[in-house]
């Protein structure tokens, strides 16, 4: 039973990270129907910026709290700046182009950003400081579910709630929904579609950076390649949950995290990814729109 619980909570932690990155995928996809392959790289850049900033601040003798706050904040700012710029360079000029073009552009962007960080920084793994403060939490069960894991899960849930509020109840959220439904109509009713798309990328990037910082401090090291694998997994999660749906992305993340966790725990970690992808294939075959996705009946 304890073992089951451990796997369950472990899967939850892992799923939270997928969910945070998947939110970015799902939002971007919802608005411009693009698989933003460079999203994983934004996550990586977020983590890198946090690492660089915390190292610099440590060197200049800032105290622990201000290091955590400042470096996270700067990382969020920078990753959203990157998300914004990537959209302006690689996707905006491609509105209305054949469908696959932005996808190739995104793959190109992803390769570019990886190598940019590789060249400007290093190919080595770097130790990442513990930016998540550790505290006493269920002392006797720490081996099951530690404070770091708690922070990760709670942050994810909070972020999802905030995002849902933002999208459901604010003006900008309404504009986003309108743009997702019909860009032309949105433009006609006076929504600045370009601005909305930029905002979407910025919000998505912030999520990715939060995910990046959390996972990097959980795992304790990063290199330039972490974004790619996490990106693919997160995209899988987004599709699993129903792409375009915010709770779907979170649920998809959790389901994927659990699948991997239980596959490892009860079968073998050799086939962890096989299980993850097989689940995806099965879900899409029997429920092509994903778990929470809305089935779009085609208009004829």
């Amino acid at each position: 039973m304890e073992y089951f619980l451990q796997l369950l909570l472990g899967g939850l932690t892992r799923g939270s990270i997928y969910a945070l990155i998947a939110l970015g995928y799902t939002m971007v996809y919802g608005i411009i129907e693009l698989i933003n392959f460079a999203h994983g790289e934004i996550y990586m850049i977020g983590a890198f910026t946090a690492l660089i900033m915390s190292s610099v601040l440590t060197l200049y003798g800032f105290n622990e709290v201000s290091i955590i706050v400042l470096s996270s904040l700067i990382a969020l700012i920078y990753s959203s700046a990157y998300g914004f710029t990537v959209e302006k360079i690689a996707y905006k000029p491609l509105r209305g182009a054949p469908r696959l073009s932005p996808l190739i552009s995104a793959i190109g962007m992803s390769i570019f950003l990886q190598n940019y960080v590789l060249l400007a920084q290093t190919s080595d793994f770097l130790p990442f400081p513990t930016l998540i403060p550790e505290f006493n939490f269920m002392k006797n069960y720490e081996h099951v579910f530690g404070s770091t894991e708690l922070v990760i899960v709670v942050t994810t849930v909070l972020v999802m709630i905030l995002l849902t509020i933002l999208i459901k109840f604010t003006k900008i959220g309404r504009a986003m929904r309108a743009t997702a439904q019909d860009k032309k109509m949105a433009m006609l009713v006076g929504i600045n579609v370009n601005k909305i798309i930029s905002v979407t990328f910025i919000i998505g990037s912030v999520m990715a950076a939060i995910g990046g910082i959390l996972i990097a401090s959980h795992i304790g090291q990063i290199n330039f390649y972490i974004g790619f694998i996490a990106g693919i997994k997160a995209f899988t999660a987004a599709v699993l949950g129903g792409i375009g749906s915010i709770p779907g992305a979170v649920l998809g993340g959790f389901v994927l995290g659990w699948t991997e966790s239980f596959a490892t725990g009860y079968v073998s970690s050799d086939y962890e990814d096989v299980f993850a992808f097989a689940l995806l294939v099965l879900i899409l075959i029997f429920r092509p729109e994903g778990i929470l996705g809305k089935s779009s009946s085609q208009k004829v």
Binding site: G10, Y18, S123, P127, T148, G220, N223, I226, T264, D270
Partner: protein, 376 residues
């Protein structure tokens, strides 16, 4: 039809021209070409770039002294991204540039793919890091040498240590599904099962780069293993060790040369304490190793990376063999590699008939107070 005629005529002429140019003997004063191949970009670049630096250091030093056999040495650096298909291109390119000897490749898979090409062109190859046993033991590649112990030797050392010294009864074996890690783990598994003295409670591969390993760590915990033997590299090793310690598990962690890297200790910090890893015998007292490390620091401003000393030794062995044999002739050079000892940062080495280095000792290390300490 006319086109065909033209083509074949043209072909004939070109072939004649080619033969003439190719058969022109090159003057001896031409530089000696040393190829360095390995991953210099992509996710495995950090294993390939140190070798380039090692080669540069050794060759610059030799060139400063006036070269070898009166010839300067030229480096041909080629990237193979550790991919077999690119490695064959790399090898063909080097061969086309009539390279004399090659330092590389880094990954066993890429090395295997490239070796056939070098073999057909009579180019000796020394790898600082390709550990797959087949490379030497299959006898398929007489032109291959290496300055690193093969997987089975390392695996034997790990298992013997676990069984004889630590007297463990339950062992979990993990690997990173890679060429190196899984190859090693397979041997470890085989040795444990053959010994009959310990129980293999878990044998699994983990996915490198995955965001979390807690499930597999829980599984180790559940299996009740006394120790984990891990085949793979330090990034995954440090993640697993850190997770195990955070989960308050004191399972012994034994790993390989890929983990016996100072970066492992730097990243895992306090959690690294007590971890065992096999590696080349402690050479930190070896004046040549000290010199090589210092030269790296002076030239590149940082500590050397993975397989630096192996590559350094390989470069020295190559140059030594050419110098001692007095030529670049394939037979003479390989003979010299097999017979002539050379002083390297790894000790005094030569190669056996199969191509494995003699004199590169392997021993077990343990992390104590933030340092790898050799266990005797």
């Amino acid at each position: 039809m006319k086109c065909m005629m033209n083509t074949s005529l043209l072909t004939c002429i070109l072939m004649v021209v080619m033969t003439v140019t190719l058969s022109c003997t090159k003057p001896e004063s031409q530089p000696l070409k040393v190829g360095v191949a390995g991953p210099h970009s992509g996710d495995l670049a950090s294993y390939g770039l140190p070798s380039v630096k090692a080669a540069e250091l050794v060759i610059n030093e030799t060139n400063d002294k006036g070269g070898i056999l009166g010839r300067r040495i030229e480096l041909l650096i080629e990237d193979d991204v550790c991919k077999p298909e690119l490695a064959t291109n790399t090898a063909t390119k080097l061969v086309s540039q009539s390279v004399h000897i090659v330092l590389g490749h880094i990954c066993s898979g890429a090395t295997k793919a490239a070796l056939g090409i070098y073999k057909d062109s009579n180019v000796p190859v020394i790898s600082p890091s390709a550990t797959n046993p087949d490379l030497t033991q299959s006898g398929d590649y007489p032109n291959f040498f290496r300055t690193i112990a093969s997987d089975d030797a390392q695996a034997k050392l790990e298992v013997d240590f676990a069984l004889d010294v630590l007297k463990l009864k339950k062992i979990a074996v993990l690997h990173d599904k890679g060429d190196y890690g899984k190859g090693l783990a397979e041997f470890v598994k085989g040795f444990i099962e053959n010994s009959g003295r310990a129980e293999l409670v878990l044998y699994e591969g983990i996915t490198p780069g995955a965001v979390d390993y807690s499930a597999v760590v829980q599984k180790i915990n559940l299996s009740g293993a006394d120790a984990v033997i891990f085949g793979g590299y330090h990034p995954e090793a440090s993640k697993i060790v850190m997770l195990m310690r955070k989960k308050k598990m004191d399972t012994i962690f034994i790993s390989d040369d890929g983990v016996k890297d100072i970066t492992f200790i730097k990243i895992a910090g306090e959690y690294a304490e007590g971890v065992y890893a096999t590696g080349p015998k402690d050479v930190s007292m070896n004046p040549l190793a000290v010199k090589a490390n210092e030269a790296h620091k002076k030239t590149y401003g940082s500590d050397p990376g993975a397989f630096f000393l192996n590559a350094y030794a390989a470069a020295q062995a190559l140059l030594n063999a050419i110098e001692k044999s007095g030529s670049t002739d394939y037979a003479k050079v390989t003979h010299a590699l097999r017979t002539e000892y050379v002083e390297t940062p790894l000790g005094k080495i030569r190669f056996d008939d199969k191509g494995d280095a003699i004199g590169v000792g392997f021993s077990m290390f343990q992390v104590k107070h933030g340092r790898y300490v050799e266990i005797n």
